[in-house]
């Protein structure tokens, strides 16, 4: 055995994994040999966003473990194996699968389990808890054959579970023992508002119900009998009646536990055995269990620091929360129930809008003690900071929650008033000072700030405040919060798009005269050219447009490193006749082009000189090819699998659909390139989920995925709608694409656009499916204009002598560029390297 210290981490949940990450980035990593036990069959995943598993997120999306994490950091992991015993006298842990590992230090990160009340019948079929991905898989399966679902427990998690049942299409009930929902966090007034809102969403709420037994039902699988004599019938039951710390192995080895469970730890997160630590939801600190992830993360850091001999201790955590429960905004801060002596309460109730706000302040009216917000939580960030930093309140504290109707600006005191130490992002413990530092070090956009500090990437609750800090800092640094496209146009791309449409502007000169200044540049010219094309779809090489285009668009081909170009004819859906294949081969041979099958199911011919482009394209067009727009920020390929025509598993004709889609959207100019794919069944051979638009056949129609991406930062597409018929799907795609074209930034793929879209996929569904902006018809009409105006740019070009001439290498000579040199490789050409050119030219 090595002379390294043996560290065993029990539990690879959110907190256990955070601890491993903290260790990896500590200075003492090389002093330890780490082994971890992961009872579940999957490595750590994001339990906080567990419910998003139902809205299309996959296991990989939720995973918190970077691929290769354990191997690269030499951490031994036993997956699907539970630690069954800690022998403190021999200092070994042993596991259910028979592993026996000696230790110097142990970290318990065993989390908690959902409490299931011992109601007779609780172990019947289709009774579940809501904690792991496996639970969700089981629930979804049961949901398929069920009509009614009941959640026992109306707390935070219970309401989240109710939303999941509702989304599975079940008639949903919430049964709560207490007189109101979310009894721990909110008061009666707020509970009433919340209840009303939730019932409006079609979920029945039953409070003060004590379930006495679960027996066979008449219409459904179960009948739940309540103490008051009433009953409900249901097919599925979810228990969400609180959590209990998993302290069994700690108990067995004699560590001190709290009276009602939980492994007692000190400020260093040490248990009663100084070589054993406990962190996360299994740990009991100062008599409290913290059922949130942020305090667990703090504990993980404390222990990592202990092991690195760095001073750090856990001093409790704020349990304030802000959430959206079934679309209802809910927040609770500090002493929400006004249990502090002589506390004063201010309440604002707006029955018409279902808004309820309450603040609890100290006797002297100077300090905020707590707050409850339902229906409108924009004040949450400000209020939380007032409380955490003990900031003196304004003279009339109720002004903090009264609506600002006269435009006088909000009272919240703003981020200015916060000290540097104020914690803005609790998930990642990022202070205001750290944010300011990051901004002055150059992170001057939200995305840069996110990347550097991780703020906002957890629960997202701090986004608004982080944005305010950023803007204030930029202001202080004398920087405008600049969203201008470039120095020539003081507008965003979205503004410019609007100006072009509304002003019916047709040329760049007109645009810069009316709305810009200077001569333009390599940023605004292609951007405006693209907008003009999205709106009016004119021929891109028309004189006023030609000089605006990036070189690829200007020469309708992709420039290569030596100044030559590639040629990519469209091969819609990847389908090509043998005759056409022969033409490509012949053209390649005749002009001595390097040929390659691309990653987009078509054929690329490389090494064409600028002056050869028109003649080569003429041959291709005569043979029935058209441009593939491989050069454009526009539709590239619609990849397809072979589909039901040939494949024994296919349930629909993916090839025909792919070809139809490609032909419909070819030529659409957009903020960035757009790729589609169509798969004929769920095996997904066309990899549709990695495309901007992905279509997968089902028994009942087409599933539509949006905003996927391969490339630099892969993203799985979101499942947008299911079982669509072809016409509806086209409508949705029209609307989606036009909305993207209209609102995205320059060079923003749909995936980054989606990541930045306020409200995300749900908002997109509102716009596209529910037509919340009232623009659906306009989008469809605008798309039709583009579709109707389609022309093959290469056809137009080769038919126009003047335009063809502009491809000549030199205006005053018939010669070509003599410095373009090729050498042979594997029976084809490749660009010569610098030394090879020198040798050849001399």
């Amino acid at each position: 055995m090595s002379d390294k210290k043996q560290l065993v981490v029990i539990g690879n949940g959110m907190v256990g994994h955070k601890f491993l990450q903290s260790m990896v980035s500590s200075d003492v990593m090389q002093d330890y040999e780490i082994t971890t036990f992961c009872e579940e069959t999957r490595f750590a995943y994001d339990r906080v966003h567990l419910s998003s598993y139902f809205s299309g997120k996959t296991e990989e999306d939720l995973s918190l473990v970077e691929p290769g994490f354990f191997e690269e950091n030499n951490i031994t992991v036993h997956v699907g194996d539970r630690v069954s015993n800690i022998d403190r006298s021999r200092k070994v842990v042993s596991s259910a699968n028979g592993q026996v590992i000696p230790y110097d230090k142990v970290v318990l990160a065993t989390g908690s389990f959902p409490f299931v009340p011992p109601i007779p019948g609780h172990e019947r079929d289709n009774c579940f808890v809501y904690r792991t991905i496996d639970d969700l898989v089981d629930i979804a399966k049961a949901g398929e054959e069920s009509k009614v679902g009941v959640v026992i427990g109306g707390g935070l998690l219970g309401l989240e579970a109710a939303k999941a049942l509702k989304d599975l299409g079940l008639k949903t009930h919430v049964v709560e023992f207490a007189p109101r929902l979310m009894a721990v966090q909110i008061d009666d007034g707020a509970g009433a508002v919340l209840r009303k809102k939730i019932e409006e969403l079609g979920v029945s709420v039953h409070t003060q119900k004590n379930t006495q037994g679960i027996v066979d039902g008449e219409e459904c699988l179960h009948r739940m009998n309540f103490a008051d004599g009433s009953h409900i019938e249901t097919d599925v039951i979810l228990f969400s009646a609180g959590i209990r710390p998993r302290d069994d192995i700690a108990r067995d080895c004699g560590l001190s536990l709290g009276e009602r469970g939980g492994i007692i730890v000190n400020d260093h997160c040490q248990t009663s055995d100084e070589d054993i630590y406990a962190i996360g939801e299994c740990a009991l600190w100062d008599g409290k269990i913290f059922g949130l992830v942020a305090p667990g993360y703090q504990m993980a850091q404390v222990v990592a620091d202990q092991l690195s001999a760095k001073e750090n201790s856990f001093s409790g955590a704020d349990m304030s929360t802000k959430l959206k429960l079934m679309g209802v905004d809910v927040a609770s801060i500090g002493d929400a129930h006004a249990t502090t002596e002589k506390a004063k309460i201010y309440t604002y109730v707006n029955g018409a809008d279902d808004v309820y706000k309450k603040i609890v302040v100290s006797e002297d009216n100077k300090r905020l003690l707590g707050a409850v917000l339902i229906g409108d939580t924009v004040d949450y960030g400000n209020l939380l900071q007032l409380r955490l930093n003990n900031i003196t309140l304004p003279e009339y504290p109720d002004s903090l929650i009264l609506p600002q109707r006269d435009g006088s600006g909000a009272t919240g005191l703003g981020v200015e008033a916060l000290p540097d130490a104020a914690q803005i992002c609790s998930c990642f413990d990022v202070s205001k000072g750290a944010l300011c530092q990051a901004v002055s070090d150059g992170a001057t956009t939200m995305s840069a700030l996110k990347e550097v500090t991780s703020a906002t990437t957890g629960c997202g609750g701090c986004t608004a405040l982080v944005g305010q800090v950023l803007n204030k800092e930029l202001e202080k640094l004398g920087m405008d919060v600049n969203t201008d496209l470039c120095e020539h146009f003081a507008y965003t791309r979205q503004d410019l798009y609007h100006l072009v449409r509304v002003g019916k502007i047709k040329t760049f000169d007109e645009m810069i005269e009316k709305h810009g200044k200077g001569y333009g540049c390599d940023i605004c010219k292609p951007t405006i050219a693209s907008i003009l094309a999205s709106c009016w779809n004119d021929y891109v090489l028309e004189t006023p447009h030609a000089g605006l285009q990036d070189t690829n668009d200007r020469y309708l081909a992709n420039i290569q490193k030596n100044g030559t170009y590639s040629i990519v004819p469209r091969i819609a859906g990847g389908e090509i006749t043998p005759d056409k294949l022969i033409v490509l081969g012949e053209v390649g041979k005749k002009y001595n082009l390097y040929t390659k099958i691309t990653g987009g199911q078509r054929i690329d011919l490389f090494g064409a000189r600028q002056e050869e482009l028109p003649i080569i394209w003429k041959e291709l067009i005569d043979a029935g090819f058209e441009t593939g727009h491989a050069y454009g920020k526009s539709l590239r390929t619609v990849k397809s699998c072979v589909g039901s025509t040939w494949c024994r598993y296919g349930v629909a004709d993916s090839v025909t659909t792919a070809i139809d889609l490609e032909n419909r959207y070819k030529g659409l100019r957009a903020p960035h390139k757009i790729k589609f794919a169509v798969s004929g069944c769920t095996r997904e051979c066309a990899e549709a989920q990695s495309k901007d638009v992905g279509v997968i056949a089902t028994e009942n129609g087409w599933n539509l995925y949006l905003c996927g991406n391969g490339g630099m930062k892969p993203r799985h597409g979101d499942l947008f709608a299911t079982d669509l018929d072809y016409e509806t799907m086209i409508k949705y795609i029209d609307r989606f694409l036009m909305f993207y074209v209209k609102t995205a930034d320059r060079l923003q793929r749909t995936s980054t656009w989606m990541t930045n879209l306020d409200g995300g996929i749900d908002y997109l569904r509102e716009v596209v499916i529910e037509d919340s902006l009232g623009l659906a018809e306009t989008f469809e009409a605008e798309m039709q204009i583009v579709v109707d105006a389609y022309q093959c740019e290469w056809k137009t070009t080769v038919e126009n002598e003047e335009k063809s001439k502009s491809f000549n290498a030199f205006v005053n000579s018939d010669k070509g560029d003599s410095q373009i040199v090729f050498v042979p490789e594997r029976d084809q050409i490749r660009p010569a390297r610098k030394e090879e050119i020198a040798a050849k030219l001399n």
Binding site: C521, A546, T551, S806, A809, F810, N812, D817, Q819
Partner: protein
């Protein structure tokens, strides 16, 4: 900068042969030039067509425009900017490319020493 092109006047082409507000390549004594016609100023500028960053003759295919008060062309390959009048690279002060005097005379584009 002194170089071999400056000693003689060369008639290159008609002004109407040039691409408006864009570049056009020309060949003079085996030297590749990038000509840029800025319509608003009724002026033509000439730089070497060779892009020292991509090591290819491509500058005539770049987009022209302004950065502050400077008129510039952006390389189509890696996007560095060069001043149209001086050939100075905006991003890297150590790099500059040859710039040539050029005039519009009677609708013709003429390269040469002026005055």
């Amino acid at each position: 900068m002194v170089n071999e092109l400056m000693s003689k006047d060369v008639d290159i082409c008609a002004l109407t042969d040039l691409n408006e507000n864009a570049g056009t390549a020309a060949l003079v004594d085996d030297i590749q030039l990038a000509l840029f016609y800025v319509k608003k100023l009724e002026k033509v500028y000439a730089l070497s067509n060779y892009d020292p960053f991509s090591e290819a003759n491509v500058l005539s295919r770049g987009i022209i425009g302004s950065l502050g008060d400077e008129l510039v062309v952006a390389s189509p390959v890696y996007k560095q900017h060069f001043n149209l009048e001086t050939g100075q690279c905006v991003e890297d002060e150590k790099v500059s490319i040859p710039a040539y005097p050029v005039e519009i005379i009677n609708g013709r584009v003429v390269l040469g020493s002026i005055g």
